[in-house]
């Protein structure tokens, strides 16, 4: 999955833009990220993954975006 460009779509009611951007910043060391908006979705294009990285950068990025969204929502609710 990491060998080619990957597009991930995050529903705006489930993910927070700051969390997606923060995840892109964290994994920016290992791949190129482009975040945009398309209707109800934040769209992340993941390209140029570091060939030396042993792992799925795009999916780890998605997990990080989810964790960040959960943390931010909980912080907001508290």
């Amino acid at each position: 999955m990491s060998a080619i460009a990957v597009t991930l779509r995050f529903h705006r009611t489930l993910y927070m833009l700051q969390a997606v951007r923060e995840a892109a910043r964290i994994y920016g060391e290992f791949a190129k990220f482009q975040i945009s908006t398309d209707g109800d979705y934040y769209v992340a294009n993941v390209s140029d993954p570091d060939p030396e990285v042993d792992g799925d950068i795009a999916r780890e990025f998605a997990n990080q975006a989810l964790v960040g969204s959960i943390a931010r929502r909980r912080h907001k609710a508290a």
Partner: protein, 161 residues
């Protein structure tokens, strides 16, 4: 009515997709379950496209195992996720039910701790309290035997018990 459905299951992509009714599983519950699975799976949440207007009433949960799983293991994975949703829902309900009690206990604990350490309580040197530290107006220092012993009869001089 089924509340958790496996929409797709593929051992080839190592992914199982569930749909959840948001009326039964609020988003906080699904977040909680997703958080528990984050070390074992790549989790992607989505909403099922709605035919009508408004927010879709069903959530899609895509779980991709970090380890290779066969179909049976993926189905078990989905079952575990729905069980975790139930556990999170119950936890949320209990937390809500006990919120007032927890707040009360915490408030009392903080108030007690703050009250015990107020420095002005110890600095009030102008207090009109003229008592010595050896004074015992409540009789706390009086031994039990002295306080409750039977008085000896006055005439026969018998021993008190």
């Amino acid at each position: 009515m089924k509340t958790v459905d496996i929409l797709t299951l593929s051992a080839e992509t190592n992914t199982v997709t569930l749909t959840l009714e948001t009326g039964l599983y609020p988003i906080e519950v699904v977040y909680g379950a997703a958080y528990v699975f984050i070390d074992r799976a790549w989790v992607l949440l989505d909403r099922k496209p709605n035919e009508g207007a408004g927010i879709a009433s069903r959530l899609l949960v895509h779980l991709t195992g970090k380890r290779k799983l066969d179909e049976a293991a993926l189905a078990a994975f989905a079952g575990e996720f729905s069980n975790e949703c139930l556990a999170q829902a119950l936890r949320r309900k209990v937390t809500k039910a006990n919120q007032k009690i927890v707040e009360e206990i915490v408030t009392q604990a903080i108030a007690g701790a703050a009250g015990a350490s107020l420095p002005q309580d110890f600095l009030d040197e102008d207090a009109s309290d003229s008592m010595d530290f050896l004074d015992d107006p409540l009789g706390i220092a009086v031994p039990w035997e002295d306080k409750f012993k039977k008085k000896a009869p006055a005439k026969d001089g018998g021993e008190a018990k």
